[in-house]
Amino acid sequence: MNRKLVDLLVGLFVVLGFAALVFLAVRAGNMSGSLALSDTYEARARFDNIGGLKPRAAVRSAGVVVGRVTGIRFDDQTYQAEVMLALDRRYQFPKDSSAQILTSGLLGEQYIGLTPGGDSQMLAAGDRITMTQSAVVLENLIGQFLYGKAAEGGAK
């Protein structure tokens, strides 16, 4: 087989291979998403209970992804969870916006929902979102329900 043809076939193979890897990273993975969110500013929020929230979870406002959770740590001064959020610089939120931990679907992933407030001042980098609502813990919910039922039964 002549030289040129071998070179051509090897070139084709290598290009195909790299194309496949890029396809996996961009189309099947989240490379495009994580690169698009490179221009961000950081905000913090404290929660009493974060449930099953994980780093890299989405931050959504009105259902649109506006940022990601970059870190979660336990604050042993307040005994609360402190969550670091990276928000897209294109979107500004009022200072008194509230954050809650929501679940997509019944058993889906947990994410942070941002509800904008009415303040004229906007959140700046490093600000803390003060109004937060914890994750709903299924066990507590069932416990409350059972207590309610028991109280009802006792009243009869």
Binding site: V6, L16, R27, A28, N30, M31, S32
Partner: protein
């Protein structure tokens, strides 16, 4: 003193010596492999021989495995009403495990055996001895370019395998069964991390490339220079390389994904 040692102990010493010799051979291959790039022609020829000829089997089996994953995944996920996660299931199983592992097994069967047989026959035909007579290092001239070519080919083939598998899952899941195409891709992109999952898969395939290439060349180079010796060496390559890949896969998986 040695002759006084009992048979099992001597056997153990032999094995240990083989491990030591293998390690030395491996390091020598790595060092000479880098030097082999001074003559890229040799490496390119071997990429053609090892990579291009494995392309058909890798692409077809990737597609078929994607089909099967799509079908089986759908049957199980449907029970829990989460068919939309099919894309995630297919892609995660491919990029984390099946892509690197099955590619390495096929690669050992397709390319590893031909490398072993080729090197073994060169030895049986006294070509290796002839090179040594001419003061040409057969490890540098014959083995190192093949080693490098196999190293380059493995991750590319594994990537192609996974990509074909994802396409296969898409064809079965979306085109034939009717899972929503948007959910298929968005669940996949939501759950597959390009460093954690795709990157670790590539690391795995590179490690497997080292394993298969080293086993194939070492076994071929150490083969008895007879027809039976070469036949035996080819079988050994498939058995040892496959077991090594599966064993290493367990260790690598435990290291990479245990924290998540």
């Amino acid at each position: 003193m040695i002759s006084a040692l009992s048979a099992p102990f001597r056997w153990l010493l032999d094995r240990l010596a083989l491990v030591g010799y293998g390690t030395r051979f491996f390091l020598r291959l790595c060092g000479l492999g880098i030097a082999a790039f001074r003559r890229p022609r040799l490496v390119i020829d071997q990429i053609h021989f090892v990579g291009n000829y494995s392309l058909s089997i890798i692409l077809v089996s990737g597609l078929l495995i994607g089909f099967v994953l799509g079908l089986q995944g759908y049957y199980t996920l449907r029970r829990y009403g989460s068919e939309e996660a099919l894309g995630l299931l297919v892609t995660l199983s491919l990029v984390r495990e099946l892509g690197p592992v099955v590619t390495a097994l096929l690669f050992a069967g397709r390319a590893g055996t031909s490398l072993t047989a080729e090197v073994g026959l060169m030895k049986a035909g006294e070509q290796i001895d002839a090179m040594e007579m001419m003061a040409v290092d057969p490890v540098a001239r014959v083995l190192a370019p093949r080693f490098m070519a196999a190293l380059i080919c493995m991750p590319l083939l594994a990537g192609l395998f996974s990509a074909m598998g994802v396409l296969g899952g898409y064809i079965v899941g979306v085109e034939m069964i009717g899972v929503d195409a948007g959910a298929f891709w968005s669940q996949m992109q939501g759950g597959v991390d390009w460093i954690e999952d795709v990157g670790n898969g590539v690391v795995k395939s590179i490690v497997f490339g080292f394993t298969v290439a080293f086993v194939a060349l070492f076994v071929g180079y150490e083969a008895q220079p007879t027809p039976e010796g070469v036949a035996h060496a080819t079988t050994t390559t498939v058995v040892v390389a496959s077991l090594a890949v599966l064993g290493l896969d367990f260790i690598l998986t435990a290291l990479m994904f245990s924290s998540t």
